[in-house]
Amino acid sequence: MKIIVFIEQIVSTQVKLKGVDYFDSSRVSEDDLVINPSSKNALEGALKLKDQLGAEVTAVCVRGLKPNKALREAIAMGCTDAIEIADETIYTDDPLLLAKIYVETLGQIGEFDLVFLGVEEQSTGSYAIGAMLSEKLGLPSVLYAEEIEVIDSGYKVGHVLEGGRKIVAMPSKGVISCSDSQYFTPRYTSMRGILTAKRAEIPKWTAADLGLSSSVVGKEAASLIEVSFSNIVLEKESYIIKEGEPEEKVENLLAKLKEDEIKLGA
């Protein structure tokens, strides 16, 4: 059994860059780069099945400034191997182009059973890649999964739904996007995993290796076109108390609420 996990590397949300600056790669260093927490949920989903069924799990990273770092962490978590797709001509802000790259990557990998992705995309904010990928592959899929159970015919998957949770059955070949439910809570890297990751050879594929020219995956091929990108100016500043002993912080808050004539109780 083979599972492919598409992961994304993002700038940590801990990094204190506001608004559009957050997306300015010249302002970040390698230390600021982390695996998207949502991609970690996807890795966990695949690794759980690996533990259970003995699958081979390959992590693939197309998006990120230093994909190699993210992929080593994925191996340290327990992935069998990893592939880096790195090419400056690839435009990753259009989910359809990304889905195209994923399809070609899967074609190059060959046989596979399941594809896992996270639900949230920090970089594009498109929330569309899982759906687009499964549609392009013509494979069944379950998006926003919260739990997976192995059954004879494939998998029983519970997914997020307004007002509750929906349970469906899907065949053993398909696409699953994972939410941050308890089931997908990512495991930590192990000491052994870290050593394996250090030694791992991670192949690097370019768009040309995938048979894709920049006219197919470059910015000129995008159909989602950015018109503008700007900071939202807030009408009022929020009053966030960072300094002081806990007691002082609470007193500070209560005094400010009183000054602003805001009553806490009903």
Binding site: T13, Q14, K16, K18, G19, V20, Y22, P95, L96, A99, G125, S126, Y127, A128, A131, M132, E135, K136, P140, L143, Y144, E146, K156, G158, H159, V160, L161, G163, G164, K166, I167, A169, M170, P171, G174, Q182, A222, S223, L224, I225, E226, V227, S230, N231, I232, S238, Y239, I240, I241, P246, K249, V250, L253, L254, K256, I262, K263, L264, G265, A266
Partner: protein
């Protein structure tokens, strides 16, 4: 003029409110010429059609089939593609529910274009549609346009208000059949586990809500105590109801309850868009150990600190 097709969604036997919000938004845009709604199901009720009409739909196209009783990607994509072919819209839009966000990107793929998800505004500039999507915890706004003859988009949950006094008329109704094969039904519906809604938080004036940062079932006690002192209700994120730290009824957000209290205290909550989209509070107060947590971008007041230290002090001061 932009002819628009809306994916009509029904939840718990009524038209889902974000769908009504989308309709109301469309009626406010002067360049939108005709609003058509596609309605699918095993049964199509007259009340749904008249509700859609009241909120601005001029035409309802329905497809009835047992395979469409519950949303599943394949049969719904198939039916919707046929409606698109028949109605020839310039814009296809769905409310950004779990189903809407599943459907729209798939339709876009079939038309060879991308889509804009989770928009909170649409504008028409010249003869172009512009889609506005807030990103990075609502700190920045991305405006995009889509190439291609048909544009595909979803709204962000809670983005558009539902008009309380809609004045629309009765829409033209047409229906047609779509046939499905076994290939279309590879993913099979088993059941919907409905969260029990025993407490209505809609009218609560004060809500003290806890998130994963609360840390456990017993630790929720401080949330309950504070809510009681303030004469309010408790609330929680899906992360907490998922692990049964607290009853499902208290989930707030896109898939939980929508609330509009005067005071919302968010403790140990990161501020995921799906959670904050359910909150329209006059005053939001956040307590979180992580200064960079998204919730502080939505908060009016906040304390960076451990909720298990801060809340007991707050409780004591309020009692004293």
């Amino acid at each position: 003029m932009v002819k628009t097709l809306v994916f009509g969604q029904v939840r718990e036997d009524i038209i889902e409110e974000n769908t009504l919000g989308v309709l109301n938004k469309l009626t406010e845009i002067s360049g939108i010429s005709e609003v058509i709604v596609a309605l699918f199901g095993h049964q199509i009720k007259d009340e749904w059609i008249s509700e859609l009409g009241k909120h601005g739909a001029s035409r309802v196209v329905s497809v009835k089939a047992p395979e469409l009783e519950v949303y599943l990607s394949r049969p719904y994509v198939k039916a919707m593609l046929e409606v698109i072919e028949k109605t020839e819209p310039k814009l296809v839009i769905a409310a950004g529910t779990v189903y809407g966000e599943d459907l729209i990107p798939r339709l876009a793929v079939h038309h060879g274009v991308s889509c804009a998800q989770r928009i909170n505004d649409i504008t028409i500039v010249g003869d172009e549609l512009h889609f506005h999507t807030p990103v990075r915890d609502d700190q920045a706004m991305k405006v995009t346009r889509i190439e291609g003859a048909i544009k595909f988009a979803t709204s962000r949950s809670g983005a558009f208000f539902v008009n309380e006094n809609p004045t629309g008329g009765s829409p033209n109704v047409e229906s047609f059949d779509v046939s499905f094969s076994e290939e279309d039904m590879l993913v099979k519906h088993i059941e919907i586990k409905k969260a029990e809604r025993t407490v209505n938080l809609k009218d609560a004036k004060v809500i003290v809500a806890g998130g994963r940062g609360v840390g456990g079932k017993e630790q929720f006690q401080i949330i309950r105590e504070l809510a009681e002192i303030l004469g309010g209700e408790i609330g929680a994120t899906r992360a907490c109801t998922d692990v049964h730290w607290i009853e499902e009824t208290y989930e707030i957000g896109q898939t939980g309850q929508s609330v509009s209290p005067d005071i919302y205290i968010a403790a140990g909550i990161s501020g995921a868009p799906q959670h904050v989209s359910g909150i329209k509070a006059k005053t939001l107060i956040a307590i979180n150990t992580d200064e960079g947590a998204a919730i502080f971008n939505f908060a009016d007041y906040g304390i960076v600190g451990d909720l298990h230290v801060i809340l007991p002090i707050l409780k004591q001061k309020l009692q004293g």
